[in-house]
């Protein structure tokens, strides 16, 4: 796990990647998902900016059940012999949010994550992700059995 994290850290701290990240974070919050779609998720665009993504490292989008406004993730799968306990490690890049605005309570943290496209559209529009109904979540029927806080 330590070795794989070190590979991710070595990649995200390269000057070329750091420059893209700095450019991303210099944009208004609502503009960032579009930049990610046009630059970070496009291999050709990355190459043009001098970023060489090492074999096995993935740049992806994701969504969390606690509705934190996440932007993208740099991830690598651990070797198969570790999959009994862990499958992948990652460094996840979020939009800024106040800690108090994202609950750690189980019935908030274990909501169905929003589809990434919906999450990004809401971020682009400046909409609080918590305002979107649970039914919008990915695979929401699988979450219906979860106990709710009275």
């Amino acid at each position: 796990m330590r070795q794989t994290y070190d590979e991710l850290i070595a990649f995200v701290t390269t000057p070329a990647f750091s420059a893209i990240y700095a450019e991303l974070m210099s944009l208004p919050r609502e503009d960032r998902p579009s930049f990610i779609a046009r630059v970070l998720l496009q291999p050709e665009s990355l190459r043009e900016r001098g970023v060489n993504v090492p074999d096995g490292i993935l740049i992806q989008t994701s969504a969390f059940g606690d509705r934190r406004p996440t932007l993208f993730v740099v991830k690598k799968f651990l070797p198969p012999e570790f999959h009994g306990a862990w499958e992948n490690v990652n460094i996840t890049f979020d939009n800024f949010y106040e800690d108090r605005d994202v609950s750690r309570a189980p019935d908030s943290a274990w909501r169905p994550p929003l589809p990434v496209a919906l999450q990004n559209a809401a971020i682009a529009a400046g909409i609080d992700l918590n305002l979107l109904p649970l039914e919008c979540g990915v695979g929401n029927r699988g979450f219906e059995a979860l106990p709710k806080t009275p």
Binding site: Y5, M25, D66, E87, P113, A117, G139, R141
Partner: protein, 180 residues
């Protein structure tokens, strides 16, 4: 792409390359590894993984809350978050616009967004055409409302970078993440 509406970043969010500091990232991930490999955490995670699929989320929400894990002696970093999560490999391909209700039932995502903020669709179409296209494509995806078919196959441990100063906290889904 410029925007003339919505919040603008606070001055402290202006990033520099110093945000991605190797030493800070290493310290954060050291702390995270200590938590994720703690025997009590591994035991809780394996219990979640071994639960029947229909009870796996319930087990995860009960066993993997920060409070519950700390009571078991897991050295979670102070700001650690544990949450359901899923990954996508990229944006959905663009398809023809489909604004009706999904044929398989469930919610139309565009309609839900427009309920929260009327007129949003037009502004998205103009200001963020790539985001608009991705939303339209995903809205028409028949799998959105389907039951989770591979719950519990994702076991991730992540370090979070939020800005303004880079590292916020660790995150994990504890073997209860989702792949569709």
């Amino acid at each position: 792409m410029a925007s003339d509406s919505g919040p603008t970043p606070a001055p402290t969010e202006i990033a520099s390359t110093e945000i991605l500091d190797r030493a800070v990232l290493r310290k954060t991930t050291d702390d995270l590894i200590e938590a994720l490999t703690a025997p009590a955490y591994v035991e809780a995670m394996l219990a979640v993984r071994s639960a029947p699929e229909e009870h796996r989320l319930e087990e995860a929400s009960r066993r993997l809350s920060p409070d519950a894990l700390r009571k078991l002696g897991v050295p979670l970093p102070p700001d650690m978050r544990i949450s359901s999560r899923y990954f996508e490999t990229g944006f959905p391909d663009s398809i023809d616009v489909e604004l009706g209700d999904p044929p398989q039932g469930g919610l139309n995502l565009i309609n839900e967004l427009n309920k929260v903020q009327p007129g949003l669709l037009d502004s998205l179409h103009t200001q963020y055409p790539d985001i608009y296209q991705a939303l339209v494509a995903q809205s028409a995806n028949a799998g959105l409302s389907s039951p989770i078919t591979r719950i519990g196959t994702c076991q991730c441990g992540g370090a979070i970078v939020t800005g303004p100063f880079g590292i916020g906290h660790g995150t994990a889904c504890g073997g209860a993440g989702l792949y569709l």
